[in-house]
């Protein structure tokens, strides 16, 4: 059970090489296959996630949530997806058409790219990059541009305001996000995500880096544009923010990308702080799924409990509290590491 997926991959490569392909090309084909798998996983996952979100919100709000379509309403999201796919695709006449149309595509591509470095099990990584964490952060920073494109392209004041908010928010929170992760990197001594997972063989980093975990979690919520930081969407203020003008399919892509990001960030959280795929008994790929889902449940819990923060508070919180705290954590970690080395404990 542990090696199902790696065995399949190996078999595929062997078969391809048997057909006469060179090792490089076989790897390339494997890459494409893995890519398709990720896209499928993402899509199916999002369908489950949206159902889960609706059930969780129902649970928090003392309601039942969807329960008519299929067992426990499990087919509800499928019906929604079918509907969204067959909706009319409106491209308003005053929009900047190219930007308007490509923004959701770019967004989903960027969010799927995040998965390339996440270790989804022992040896189950599309690319085991030696700067994997940096890859995650830098690709993540691209989603800012997608939102900006959506807001600008829509030629709508609500959208523009939402996009401006999104950009300001994401740029400000990227910095504490990255800096809080650096504490973990210092302990693990590597930017390679698989190394970081292995380094947590004895103790999870959440115990060594609790401050980093909290700052990461807050900053990640803001990066994901989820409540209480859902500024760009801000339904009660900006109707639907940057997405106001998007219909059916294109809007669904945004939705898909947001949830894809959610899974990716939660998986990164599990990897960085909760020992990644390590765990007793169960196969490694199941452990990471369990951990990721538990973290996502916390994200949902927060979203359905808190009111939305105000924009200026949001910015000052990032720059005046989160950033100094994460920097202080970094300094503290440095001193701690030196102290441990000096004592000979490390």
């Amino acid at each position: 059970m542990e090696h199902w997926f790696t065995d399949i991959a190996q078999a595929l490569v062997n078969w391809l090489m048997g057909l006469g392909l060179s090792a490089g090309w076989a790897d390339f084909v494997l890459l494409i296959v893995q890519w398709l798998c990720i896209v499928m996983i993402v899509t199916i996952n999002v369908i489950i996630l949206i159902w889960l979100e609706r059930k969780v919100s129902g649970f928090i709000q003392l309601r039942l949530g969807p329960n008519r379509l299929g067992p426990y309403g499990a087919f509800q999201t499928i019906a929604d997806a079918i509907k969204l796919l067959t909706k009319e695709d409106i491209i308003p006449s005053r929009t900047d058409k190219w930007i308007f149309m490509t923004a959701p595509l770019f967004f989903i591509v960027v969010s799927v790219m995040l998965y390339a470095v996440i270790p989804m099990g022992d040896g189950m990584q599309v690319v085991d990059f030696n700067v994997g964490l940096l890859y995650f952060i830098s690709i993540g920073s691209l989603s800012t541009i997608c939102l900006l494109m959506a807001g600008w392209g829509s030629n709508n004041k609500w959208s523009m305001l939402g996009a401006m908010r999104a950009v300001a928010q994401m740029i400000s929170y990227e910095i504490p996000l990255a800096i809080s992760l650096l504490g973990v990197v210092m302990i693990a001594g590597s930017l390679r995500l698989s190394d970081i997972v292995v380094a947590q063989g004895n103790i999870w980093f959440v115990l060594l880096q609790p401050i980093a975990f909290i700052t990461y979690f807050i900053a990640a919520t803001a990066e994901l544009n989820r409540g209480p930081f859902d500024m760009p969407e801000a339904e009660q203020e900006l109707t639907a923010g940057a997405y106001t003008e998007y219909t059916g399919m294109r809007w669904a892509l945004f939705f898909l990308a947001e949830y894809t990001n959610l899974v990716a960030v939660s998986a990164l959280c599990a990897t960085m702080f909760f020992g990644g795929w390590q765990g007793p008994g169960l196969p490694s790929w199941l452990w990471i799924i369990i951990k990721t889902y538990l973290i996502m449940l916390v994200f949902m819990w927060m979203k359905w409990t808190f009111p939305r923060i105000r924009m200026d508070h949001l910015m000052s919180f990032s720059w005046k509290i989160l950033l100094p705290v994460s920097l202080a954590n970094l300094v503290l970690t440095g001193f701690g590491l030196e102290f441990f080395k000096w004592m000979g404990w490390w």
Binding site: S57, I60, Q61, L62, R63, K157, W158, L161, R165, G227, P228, D230, A234, E235, Q236, E237, T239, W304, T305, F306, P307, R308, I309, R310, M311, D312, H313
Partner: protein, 366 residues
């Protein structure tokens, strides 16, 4: 040096946070509000004109559709206005039941206020909890009048029906559970730091401005002015009850919220006293089938509705229909200060201010 452009953003008439058809035209400088212009009339249903073609009792249902969040209050005001003009006495039992219903209405309206404020600030769950508890009041209304929300329960000369036996138990158990509910709201909404940041010191209205602009009700009391018509000019039998008037200090959104939260408790106190003292007897006096106030009679009667001073100005011409009926709608007047308290704030503050001014558009537009 650098300079910035201002732009106009239209909030409404279809917008999730405008409590109906309200349209706020905000002149913005980035995220800062330079000015706000309020456009009303999207729910203007010509009630005042319709009143001129309805007989006096026929207008009662229309009155209840003014403030649909607390439908007993506007009907109470209207019935009392006509009774006062005609000199009709209302039986004791009816008076008490009127108070009970009116105060339950006030609680239900304030519950909607708390919930809709929570949802306007982004906390969806707050609304659901308030609506859950409001359902119990709706049940009581349905029990007594057959309608959940818009019960034309008050009638000229009394009330429509006596309450059923089950009502007392339902009312008592609601009152018993109320402290627990309020604890829950405090945990979920009041105590939330983000929410406090959002509404503390936001939308501050000075006491002078409040009086000058005719602001009444909880919005006025949030500024620290002790003015409650139930105390100042008691109507009905309100002088028999003991209750406090919760006051704010600063007149900001937070005070407006807290005042309403406290008012729920005071209303519960009134209901408890009324339930204890509820006498047996008639629920309606004999009122002539056709009410014909004499020509030239006119009256301005006002009550403390959940939104503020709700007044009826009725002019009679000797016929069975009002010659002129004007509603002094508290929401209408209260909304006037929205630009004043929103200027200089952020875009998100406009939403918070609309929510805490608690306008009900059906009443403000009539």
């Amino acid at each position: 040096m650098l300079q910035t452009d201002q732009y106009i953003i239209n909030i409404g008439p279809q917008h999730p946070s405008t409590h109906g058809g309200l349209h706020v035209e905000a002149l913005m400088d980035g995220e800062n509000v330079v000015d706000a212009i309020v456009h009303l009339g999207y729910v203007h249903r010509s009630i005042e004109k319709i009143a001129e073609s309805r007989t006096y009792p026929q207008f009662v249902p229309y009155a209840s559709r003014l403030d649909y969040l607390a439908s007993h209050l506007p009907t109470l005001g209207y019935c009392q206005a006509v009774e006062k003009m005609m000199g009709i006495e209302v039986p004791e039992r009816a008076e008490y039941l009127r108070v009970i219903m009116a105060e339950f209405s006030r609680i239900s309206s304030h519950l909607i206020f708390i919930g809709s404020m929570a949802i306007d600030l982004g906390a969806t769950t707050g609304l659901i909890y308030c609506l859950r508890d409001r359902e119990r009041i709706m049940d009581m209304f349905e029990m007594t009048s057959g309608q959940r929300m818009i019960a034309s329960y008050m009638r000229i000369g009394g009330i429509a029906e006596d309450v059923p036996e089950t009502f007392y138990a339902a009312a008592r158990s609601f009152l018993d559970d109320l402290p627990q509910m309020i604890d829950e709201y405090n945990g979920l909404i009041t105590g939330n730091e983000i929410l406090q940041c959002r509404i503390k010191g936001v939308g501050t209205l000075s006491a002078e401005d409040a009086i000058a602009y005719g602001v009444t009700g909880p919005n006025l009391r949030a500024c620290g002015i002790d003015y409650d018509i139930r105390k100042a000019e008691p109507y009905g039998i309100y002088d028999r009850f003991e209750f406090d008037v919760p006051l704010g200090t600063k007149g900001d959104s937070w005070n407006r919220y807290i005042v309403r939260l406290e008012e729920i408790k005071e209303s519960a106190r009134i209901i408890e006293q009324a339930l204890d003292a509820l006498p047996q007897g008639d629920i309606r006096t004999k009122v002539p089938r056709v009410l014909k106030p004499e020509s030239g009679w006119e009256i301005y009667h006002r009550i403390e509705s959940s939104k503020g001073e709700l007044g009826y100005y009725i002019v009679a011409d000797g016929g069975n229909k009002p010659y002129r009926l004007h509603v002094r709608a508290p929401s209408f007047i209260n909304l006037m200060v929205l630009p004043i308290i929103s200027r200089g704030g952020k875009l998100q503050d406009i939403i918070a201010n609309i929510a805490t001014l608690d306008p009900v558009l059906g009443e403000s537009d009539r």
